[in-house]
């Protein structure tokens, strides 16, 4: 399961993301935000929203689903 991307160069270890993560998936490890429980991450993007230094990105893949029975 993909998880938010953390840029360690931008992360200040402020722990706002840890506080706001609703599933406890993020922790500060060696002073940097880290997704320590990837299985718990729901990709809700709260951490990206709250990060004051723009260190967390939650990109979405935009995928076109093939229609099995396309509408006429």
């Amino acid at each position: 399961m993909p998880t938010p991307e953390v840029n360690p160069e931008l992360c200040t270890g402020c722990s706002d993301c840890v506080e706001f993560c609703p599933t406890g998936a993020v922790a500060i490890v060696n002073g940097k935000a880290t997704v320590v429980k990837p299985e718990a991450c729901t990709y809700c993007t709260e951490c990206e929203t709250i990060c004051p230094s723009g260190a967390i990105r939650c990109p979405f893949e935009v995928v076109l689903v093939k229609q099995e029975n396309p509408k006429k």
Partner: protein, 220 residues
């Protein structure tokens, strides 16, 4: 020299030409008069040529399906308009109407393009520029007439590709989507939820699945 050829000397497009070349252009050029409020041409129609205001004023505008209008420019005497389709070969990107009693010159597309005939590089560059200007006018149209949800829907439609297909699947954050449609992240988040509720998309983890492109096209 004809009075029109002399007039063309003061028009930037033609000022660098020789008197003979300007005379040739003057011969091909048509003069048309329009009453106040009269439509000169409509968006989407084939291009007749490069327009030059002799007297009066012309409004260049985009219209929404609901009848709203966005003026792109007002052309006064001595100003040219409708360059984009002359140089990119497409239809008129906007409509034009006379703001007052107006007389215009129409220089046929073929005549304008003949000036570039000897320089394929200039032709290619100007065509590219014209295409970019056409795109920008469509951006103005979207920002003026479409809601954020509608702009987001169009972005998803334009971006979405089939997984495993020849093009890489785009990866966009909500912030990036916001900057592409002239909005902010929170509004994009709400827009995504609205589109999901409408059944146009489904959000599964980090994937936005476009499940009903027709619903995206209809998003208001």
């Amino acid at each position: 020299m004809s009075s029109l050829a002399d007039y063309l000397k003061g028009v930037p497009y033609f000022s660098a030409l020789s008197p003979e070349e300007r005379e040739k252009i003057a011969k091909d050029t048509l003069e048309r008069s329009f009453d106040r409020g009269e439509v000169i041409f409509l968006e989407g129609e084939p291009c007749q040529g490069l327009y030059l205001v002799k007297s009066g004023r012309v409004r260049i505008f985009k219209s929404s399906p609901e009848g709203r209008e966005q003026v792109l420019m007002t052309a006064a005497a001595g100003t040219t308009f409708n360059e984009v389709p002359v140089f990119d070969g497409g239809p008129n990107p906007a409509s034009a109407s006379a703001l007052e009693q107006t007389t215009i010159y129409v220089v046929p597309t073929k005549t304008v393009n003949a000036l570039l005939a000897g320089c394929p590089a200039a032709q290619a560059i100007i065509k590219l520029f014209a295409g970019r200007l056409r795109h920008l006018s469509s951006v103005v149209e979207d920002l003026s007439f479409r809601s954020v949800v509608s702009r987001l829907a169009r972005l998803l439609l334009d971006s979405a590709v089939v997984q495993g297909g020849p093009s890489p699947v785009p990866r966009l954050t909500q912030e990036e989507m916001a900057t592409m449609i002239g909005s902010v992240r929170d509004v994009v988040g709400r827009g995504l939820r609205a589109l999901e509720k409408a059944g146009a998309i489904r959000i599964e983890g980090q994937r936005i699945l476009v499940v009903d492109p027709e619903k995206l096209k209809e998003a208001r």
